[in-house]
């Protein structure tokens, strides 16, 4: 048997994945999600969490089976993250509650929500026009003290750090819709620096409430094709008209290959490269020449020490907005060249919607499962090809294929572009 390798081709500690967990609108756990994703089933449905009267978009991929009756975004985000991380840590075989490394968690920004604002307004006794002075007066009573911690940006990460016993100061981060990938990138960097033998990397998002949906709606980012919810998310199709909000979480246990080998852990795959590039063109739109997307993909390949010919499959950002899918295809064509026309690429978002902060992590887990299972989940709802996107989007039906190396893309508002290279082999 060949001697196992513990360093990558640049001499850095090789980063293995030894545990994965996921929860989305399709279900809880890898098995349930994989079954649904490879069956081409959609988790998008009519929103029941709040009234949809007056809204342009009335569908989402919310997770409604995790105690949604007392919805509050940080609470649901924490529950989803806990579920995913519990599955991941259990699979890794590392001790529950005593994780030997740092926590990097992508969490949605938090703020006091409408139910709390209303309660404060009511408690203030203001019978005339309500202002923030009334809310401040109600706060002064101290009767609502627990909401302080609930709506701090660091709380979800702190609770997760406590539960899983991660080491050091946990990082809560946002790079908008590429946050989940950034959490993984931070973990890869920490292990390569030798700071710890492992990192727990999580992306979570349980923040579909009325105002969150309205915010994206006002930016015309959401699909408004509400009639058949399962068919609204149409990445790469000519008739795509926006993304569908989704919820979910995914967790990955990253571990130095040496540490994993020493304790006899099963290695599920490797994160062999990560790349990123900022875009200063516009707050929501990509540079028209696609240069930052190209640079992020190229940086990930360079970090992995491989050329574009090594990529067997692209797990797309693929939001289903007219802009994203066009730019993503253009960027891939620029880096991979003509071969890109025959490299399979698919968007998990066609089934689970855009899980926003969680997306990069969810899609990294799906990418690694694709490698392990030899099946590529499809891009569903692909019935009207877009001639501007001449790619093999694995339309509608899953496909068996030997996949050794995956490029997973994540792009976000604010010029965020993050790409990961996931691999069966050390690279």
């Amino acid at each position: 048997m060949a001697q196992p390798r513990f360093t990558d081709r640049f001499g850095r500690p090789l980063v293995a994945v030894t545990g994965m967990g996921v929860i989305t609108s399709l279900g809880e756990g890898k098995a349930a999600n994989w079954a649904a994703l490879t069956a081409g089933r959609s988790g998008i449905h009519r929103i029941t969490r709040f009234p949809v009267e007056g809204l342009r978009t009335t569908i989402a991929g919310t997770v409604d089976f995790e105690g949604a009756e007392d919805f509050c975004a940080p609470k649901l985000s924490e529950r989803l993250a806990t579920t995913a991380a519990t599955e991941a840590v259990a699979q890794s075989g590392l001790p529950a509650g005593d994780f030997p490394g740092a926590l990097f968690v992508a969490v949605p920004p938090v703020e006091i929500e409408w139910p709390q604002r209303r309660a404060l307004a009511e408690a203030s006794g203001q019978a005339g026009d309500v202002t923030y002075a009334d809310l401040l007066a109600a706060a002064e009573t101290g009767a609502f003290a627990e909401w302080h911690d609930l709506f701090l940006f660091g709380t979800v990460a702190d609770h997760l750090a406590e539960r899983f016993g991660t080491k050091g100061s946990p990082i809560s981060l946002s790079t908008a819709c590429s946050s989940g990938a950034t959490a993984i990138q931070l973990g890869v960097e920490a292990i390569r620096r030798g700071e710890a033998p492992a990192a727990l990397c999580i992306g979570t998002d349980g923040s579909v409430h009325a105002e969150a949906l309205i915010r994206f709606s006002l930016l015309s980012a959401l699909s408004t094709q509400n009639a058949v919810p399962e068919e609204a998310a149409k990445p790469f199709s000519k008739n795509r008209d926006g993304f569908v909000m989704g919820e979910g979480a995914a967790a990955l246990v990253l571990e130095s290959a040496e540490h994993a080998h020493a304790r006899g852990a099963e290695i599920l795959g490797y994160v062999i490269g990560a790349g990123e590039k900022g875009d200063g063109f516009h707050r929501t739109r990509s540079s028209p020449d696609g240069a930052p997307i190209v640079a992020a993909i190229a940086a990930a390949l360079e970090d992995a020490g491989i050329g574009p010919e090594a990529i067997d499959y692209v797990n797309a950002h693929g939001t289903g907005t007219p802009e994203n899918d066009k730019m993503e295809a253009m960027g891939l064509m620029a880096v991979v060249g003509e071969r890109m026309r025959s490299v399979p690429i698919s968007s998990n978002k066609s089934m689970i919607g855009h899980t926003l902060t969680a997306a990069g992590a969810v899609e990294a887990v799906v990418s690694l499962m694709t490698i392990r299972e030899g099946v590529i989940p499809p891009t569903i709802n692909y019935h009207v090809p877009d001639p501007a996107i001449p790619l093999d989007v694995v339309p509608n039906v899953a496909r068996e294929a030997k996949v050794g190396c995956v490029l997973s893309n994540s792009f976000g508002f604010g010029g965020q572009n993050t790409c990961l290279v996931l691999s069966a082999e050390p690279g």
């Binding site: 100061s169 981060l173 950034t182 931070l186 006002l218 930016l219």
Partner: protein
């Protein structure tokens, strides 16, 4: 006679040095203005710069200074697209780039990485108030909420609220496009932003960073978050040591640092202001004993000596301040800490970066050889950043 950096035995190409400082607060702009205010002594410090005591009574805040925004944010359209927290941050970031001599170096800025420590942005307070008023008597308040938000909220307000859009605006306005990451989590986010940038530079993963944050205290929605926990100071203007009630005074401001590898700074002929020798950061319980134990350990881990000038992130909250006082009495006896909050107010995510900016300024001005910046978060986390003459 001071030793020259090149004579030092422990000098290394991957040392992390500060080459740029951008600091904006109620005191004014520029680290020099802040050092001048400090020179007035602790008693003068609490009065340096204005206090806003009326608009958010009973909570005083330290207001932002009047800024000539166009000097750092030339396009009016960019100014309009941002809310105050972003304008403060983008302004301070630009000042840091100026200070580092990078402003006109497009190639360098395009490979400079960014870590921003941030919370969220401003809400539309008028809309919130109107909606709450209308909801009170409406038969279907949640339906009303949908209708009013759809019609009354400015579509681009979301882009002034997203945590990562300060970094996004820095990319747009200043062309700093290596890549950005935004850390959230109150005070500790500021400590960890510096910690991660330091680690990435020291390990050779990245050469140059723009790191910092900003905070707008002049917004009731933000004060509300802390008022809920009875953590905001509600009393007359006073220095921390003179207050009779607990709580912190929020301040409006921005603090950014350019950090780079010593070899990188030398190669481009940058002026090195100070070295960040070590960054300690920990998750810790809130009891005085646990905090003191943690902070003491951070002194050890960072190798902070008894002569270090202390720049304190003290909050004005019991247990946290008591723990710090006890540790300082043991580790830096006789030190008179500079209390950042007394000077600029509590800048939350930007507070540790502001403390480091002050410490680097003191060292660059020759007023200290070594400095240590403390941070004990109001709800969680602790940090210690040690700087020394470069």
């Amino acid at each position: 006679m001071s030793e020259r950096p090149e004579d030092r035995q422990d000098c290394d190409d991957r040392d992390v040095v500060v080459t740029g400082i951008g600091l904006v607060s109620c005191v004014g702009e520029g680290v020099e203005a802040h050092l001048a205010a400090l020179a007035g002594g602790p008693a003068g410090v609490s009065r340096a710069g204005p206090w806003e005591t009326g608009r958010f009574a009973p909570y005083p805040v330290r207001p932002a200074p009047a800024l000539e925004l166009s000097t750092q944010i030339p396009k009016k359209s960019d100014q309009r697209q941002m809310e105050p927290w972003q304008r403060l941050g983008v302004y301070a970031a630009g000042a840091a780039l100026d200070s580092a001599g990078m402003k006109d170096d497009a190639e360098l800025k395009a490979r400079t990485h960014v870590i921003v420590a941030a919370g969220g942005g401003e809400r539309d307070w008028d809309v919130d108030g109107q909606v709450l008023t209308a909801m009170r008597t409406h038969a279907a308040p949640d339906v009303l909420l949908n209708e009013r938000l759809m019609s009354d909220v400015r579509p681009t307000l979301f882009l002034a609220q997203l945590s990562n859009l300060l970094a996004g605006n820095i990319a747009i306005v200043h062309g700093v496009t290596g890549a950005s990451r935004t850390f959230m989590g109150e005070e500790q986010a500021g400590v960890d932003a510096i910690r991660i940038a330091h680690a990435r530079i020291a390990s050779g993963q990245t050469d140059v960073f723009l790191v910092g944050g900003s905070f707008n205290a002049e917004r009731a929605d933000s004060i509300l978050a802390y008022a809920l926990g009875r953590l905001a100071y509600a009393g007359p203007p006073a220095a921390l040591a003179d207050r009779t009630a607990p709580g912190f005074v929020l301040g409006s401001g921005g603090a950014f640092l350019v950090l780079e590898a010593r070899a990188h700074a030398r190669a481009r002929g940058a002026r090195i202001l100070a070295e960040i020798a070590a960054v300690g950061s920990a998750r810790t319980g809130r009891g005085e004993g646990a905090l003191a134990e943690t902070l003491g350990r951070l002194f050890d881990e960072t190798g902070t000596g008894a002569d270090a000038r202390i720049v304190s992130g003290a909050l004005g909250l019991p247990a946290r301040d008591d723990a710090e006082r006890a540790v300082l009495a043991a580790r830096a006896p006789g030190a008179t800490p500079i209390v950042t909050q007394d000077l600029v107010g509590h800048l939350m995510e930007a507070h540790a970066p502001a403390g480091v900016a002050l410490a680097a300024g003191l060292i660059a001005a020759g007023e200290a050889r070594e400095a240590a910046v403390t941070s004990i978060g109001h709800q969680r986390g602790a940090g210690l950043v040690r700087l020394r003459a470069a």
